[in-house]
C-alpha cells in the first residue's frame, strides 16, 4: 500500500500554546482515516498543515509524495478540502459554485459528473438556489461535491458532520464509502465517537497529542478492564454515588446508562451493597463491551 500522507514529529505552536505535539502517522492509499477527538484537540490545525495552508514549526510531512511547505502547488492540484466551516460562496447558486470550483481546478462539471452523481443528485433539484439558502445537510453535500469535482487523490474533510442531523450523517458516511471505488484516500475528523467505527483506521487525538492509532476494533479491544453498564431511574444520584465509592476506577455517563470500571479486586457485590446503602434504588448492572469512547476516556484519564 502506497503512503499518501506521512507525518513525523509534527509540532505547531500558537504563541505559548502548543496546538500539536510530536504528531506522527501514515495514511495509505484508499484508506478512510479518522481523527477522533474533542473540540480543541488540534484536528483543524493538523488538517490545515496537511492541506498546505499552514506551515508546521517542527517535524516533517509529505502529502502525495510532496512537501506541503515547498511543493504546495503540486499538492493543491490533487487534494479536495472541505473546511469545518461552510466556505462556499453563499451568494452563488449551487450550480455556480460547482462550476466555479470545477473551472478553478481546470476541469468541467460534465467531465467528472460521474464522481459526484450520488451526492449531487440529492441537491440537483435545487441547483438554482443560492448556496447560503441551503439546509445544513444540503450545504454539506454541496461542499463535498465541490471538493470532489476535480477527482482529487486525497480528500480532507474537517468535521464534515458537525451540525448535521443523524440521518444526514449516516447518509454522508455511506457516500464516503462509495468513493472507495475511485481509490480516493479520505482523511476525516469528527468529534463523534460513533462515527469512528465507519473508518478503516482512526487516530485518537487529545490536547495536540495522538493517544493511539489503529483500526476501530483494535482500539476498542485495547480497553483493558471489565466494563459495566449501570442503570438506575435516578441517574444523577447513581453517578454521584459511584463517584464517591472508593472502589471505583472510572465512571462516566454513557447514553441512558453509566459506564463503570472497578479497581482491582473490587467485586460487583461490594458495589451493589454500597449503592443500596447510599439509597440508590432500582439499580441494574451488567457487563458490556467497550466502545471507542470508553477507550478514549481510559487513555485520557491515564494521561
Amino acid at each position: 500500500m502506497e503512503t499518501v500522507v506521512e507525518a513525523a514529529g509534527i509540532g505547531k505552536k500558537f504563541g505559548n500554546l502548543s496546538a500539536l505535539k510530536d504528531i506522527s502517522f501514515q495514511i495509505g492509499t484508499g484508506e478512510v482515516f479518522g481523527f477522533i477527538g474533542p473540540d480543541g484537540a488540534g484536528k483543524t490545525t493538523l488538517f490545515r498543515i496537511i492541506t498546505s495552508l499552514m506551515i508546521p514549526d517542527e517535524g516533517k510531512i509529505k502529502v502525495l509524495g510532496h512537501d506541503p511547505v515547498t511543493e504546495f502547488e503540486e499538492i493543491r492540484k490533487h487534494i479536495g478540502y472541505m473546511p469545518g466551516r461552510f466556505s462556499l460562496y453563499q451568494d452563488l447558486s449551487v450550480e455556480e459554485n460547482l462550476r466555479f470550483y470545477a473551472t478553478v481546478f481546470g476541469t468541467t462539471l460534465e467531465e467528472n459528473y460521474h464522481l459526484i452523481r450520488d451526492i449531487y443528485s440529492h441537491i440537483e433539484p435545487f441547483k438554482k438556489r443560492m448556496a447560503g439558502k441551503l439546509s445544513g445537510g444540503m450545504k454539506q453535500k454541496l461542499a463535498l461535491s465541490c471538493a470532489l469535482i476535480h477527482q482529487p487523490r486525497l480528500l480532507v474533510l474537517d468535521e464534515p458532520t458537525t451540525g448535521v442531523d443523524a440521518v444526514s450523517r449516516s447518509e454522508f458516511w455511506d457516500m464516503l464509502k462509495n468513493l472507495r471505488q475511485y481509490n480516493i484516500t479520505i482523511v476525516v475528523s469528527t468529534p463523534y465517537m460513533d462515527e469512528a467505527m465507519r473508518c478503516d483506521r482512526v487516530a485518537l487525538i487529545q490536547d495536540g497529542q495522538l493517544l493511539q492509532i489503529g483500526s476501530p476494533g483494535t482500539i476498542r479491544d485495547g480497553f483493558s478492564r471489565k466494563l459495566y453498564s449501570v442503570t438506575a431511574p435516578e441517574k444523577y444520584k447513581l453517578l454521584l454515588a459511584l463517584k464517591s465509592f472508593a472502589g471505583t476506577e472510572s465512571v462516566f455517563p454513557f447514553g441512558d446508562s453509566v459506564h463503570l470500571t472497578l479497581k482491582e479486586g473490587v467485586t460487583v457485590q461490594a458495589i451493589s451493597d454500597y449503592l443500596e446503602k447510599s439509597g440508590v434504588v432500582g439499580v441494574t448492572m451488567r457487563e458490556t463491551n467497550a466502545g471507542i469512547e470508553d477507550r478514549f476516556l481510559e487513555l485520557m484519564n491515564r494521561k
Binding site: 506551515i55 466551516r85 460562496y89 455556480e96 481546470g106
Partner: protein
C-alpha cells in the same frame, strides 16, 4: 486564462447579485456629482454686511450704494449706533460691519484723509480675508471715483504728495463669540493711489477658466474622488469578506495563482470605475456645461492607472485586515489623507515641504492634476506624461505589494 476569466465572471456575478451594491455603484457617482459640484465652492457670494452710518452725507451714501451694488455683499442691517454693529457680529447676523464715522462727508469735502472701520468675523479666516478683499476693491473704486471727479483738486491741496482724499480703513480685531483669543488680528490699511491721473490700468484675463467658474475647477477633481471611493472601499471589503466568510480558505487550497486572484478582484472595479467616469463626464457636460478642452482618452488613461493604484493599495490593506472593521478603519484613514491632500480643495504648493514630499505617493494628486489639465487646459500626452509615469509607478508598486503580501498559507 480560462481560470482568470472565470474568476472575473464570478466577481461580476457577485457584485451585481448584491441588489444594493449593484445599483449603488452607478447611482453614487450621479448623486455625488449633482450634490458636490454645485455645493463645494470657495466662491463668496452675498456676504452679510452691516452698515453703521453716523455720517449720512452724500459721500457716505454713495459709498453705501456702491457696496449695495456689488454682487458680493448683501446689506442686512443699517444703523446709527456703533454698539448695534457689534451686536450683529455677536449674533452672527452679519459677517462684516462697516462703520462710517460722523465727520466722513465733511472731512472728505475738505480734502482730508478719512477713516472708516471694518469689523469682520474671522472664525473662517479664508472667508474673512476674501470678504475683506472684496470690500477693499469696492473702496478702491470709490477712491478712484473721488479722484476722477476732482481732477483739479490736487492743485489746491496743502501737500502735493497727498492729493485728493484718501480713504483709510482698517479691520479691527474680529469679534467672535467664544473664540476671541484664537483669532489673529487682521489689520491692514489701504494707502491708496497717491496720484490721480497717469496710472496703470490693469485688465486681466483668466486663462483656462475664463469665467472663473468654480464648478469647472471642482468637477474634474470630483471625478477622481468618485472612483477613489468605489475602488477603495468595495474592492478592499470584497477581499476581507472572503476572509471573514472563510471562502478564501477554500480558494487557497486550489491551484489558483496569487496574481490571478488579485487581478480578478481588481478587474471588475476598474471597469465599473471607467463607467462611472463616463457617467460623471456626461453629467459634467449636460448639467454643468463642463468644457472638454483635451482628449478624453487621456483622461480615461489617467483614471485607469489611478484605479489600479487605488485597488492595489486597497487589496494590500485587506491582506492584513482580518475583519471588515479593521479594513474600513485603515481605508478611511488613507482616503481622508488622499482626498484632503490631493489638491482638490487647497493648492498643494501651499502645503509644507514635508507634506508635499509625502504627497508624491498620493495617487489622488496625479489624477486631480491630469483631470484638470486635460479637461480645462487641453493638455496633451506629453504635458501629463510625468504624472502618468508617477501614477504608473505607484500602481505597479501597490499592486505588487498586494500580490506579494497575499498569502495562500498562514
Amino acid at each position: 486564462m480560462r481560470t482568470i476569466l472565470y474568476l472575473i465572471r464570478k466577481e461580476f456575478l457577485q457584485i451585481f447579485r448584491d441588489k444594493f451594491i449593484g445599483k449603488a455603484i452607478f447611482a453614487v457617482p450621479v448623486v455625488q456629482m449633482l450634490i458636490l459640484v454645485p455645493a463645494v465652492t470657495f466662491e463668496i457670494r452675498r456676504v452679510n454686511l452691516g452698515i453703521v452710518n453716523q455720517d449720512m452725507s452724500a459721500e457716505s451714501r454713495t459709498l453705501v450704494s456702491q457696496l449695495e451694488g456689488s454682487a458680493f455683499f448683501k446689506i442686512r442691517n443699517t444703523s446709527f449706533q456703533e454698539a448695534e454693529g457689534r451686536d450683529w457680529l455677536h449674533r452672527g447676523d452679519c459677517d462684516l460691519v462697516v462703520h462710517i464715522p460722523a465727520d466722513f462727508g465733511r472731512e472728505l469735502g475738505k480734502g482730508n484723509p478719512v477713516k472708516i472701520m471694518v469689523a469682520a468675523n474671522a472664525i473662517n479666516a479664508v472667508n474673512a480675508q476674501l470678504s475683506w478683499a472684496y470690500l477693499n476693491g469696492v473702496i478702491r473704486d470709490y477712491n478712484l471715483d473721488i479722484l476722477a471727479q476732482n481732477p483739479g483738486k490736487s492743485s489746491y491741496l496743502p501737500m502735493a504728495t497727498q492729493p485728493g482724499s484718501v480713504l483709510k480703513s482698517e479691520i479691527v480685531t474680529p469679534i467672535a463669540i467664544g473664540a476671541k483669543s484664537d483669532i489673529p488680528d487682521l489689520k491692514s490699511e489701504i494707502q491708496n493711489p497717491t496720484s490721480d491721473i497717469p496710472q496703470i490700468q490693469v485688465t486681466n484675463r483668466y486663462w483656462y477658466n475664463e469665467s472663473l467658474n468654480y464648478k469647472y475647477y471642482m468637477l474634474p477633481g470630483i471625478l477622481g474622488i468618485l472612483v477613489l471611493a468605489i475602488g477603495f472601499v468595495l474592492a478592499g471589503l470584497n477581499l476581507v469578506k472572503e476572509k471573514e466568510s472563510g471562502t478564501i480558505e477554500q480558494i487557497n487550497v486550489t491551484p489558483v495563482k496569487k496574481y490571478h486572484f488579485i487581478l480578478a478582484k481588481m478587474f471588475p472595479f476598474v471597469v465599473i470605475g471607467m463607467i462611472d467616469i463616463a457617467i460623471g463626464l456626461v453629467i459634467g457636460k449636460l448639467v454643468f456645461g463642463l468644457p472638454f478642452a483635451g482628449n478624453l482618452g487621456l483622461l480615461f488613461l489617467g483614471s485607469f492607472i489611478f484605479m489600479v493604484a487605488v485597488l492595489g493599495l486597497a487589496l494590500f490593506i485587506s491582506t492584513f485586515s482580518d475583519t471588515q472593521q479593521q479594513f474600513m478603519f485603515t481605508a478611511f484613514f488613507f482616503m481622508i489623507i488622499f482626498i484632503l491632500m490631493s489638491g482638490i480643495f487647497t493648492p498643494i504648493d501651499s502645503m509644507p515641504v514635508w507634506a508635499q514630499k509625502l504627497d508624491m505617493i498620493n495617487p489622488a494628486v496625479y489624477v486631480m492634476r491630469i483631470n484638470r489639465m486635460v479637461l480645462l487646459k487641453g493638455s496633451t500626452f506629453n504635458d501629463i506624461s510625468g504624472d502618468l509615469l508617477m501614477l504608473s509607478v505607484i500602481a505597479v508598486a501597490f499592486t505588487g505589494l498586494a500580490v506579494n503580501r497575499y498569502r495562500k498559507t498562514a
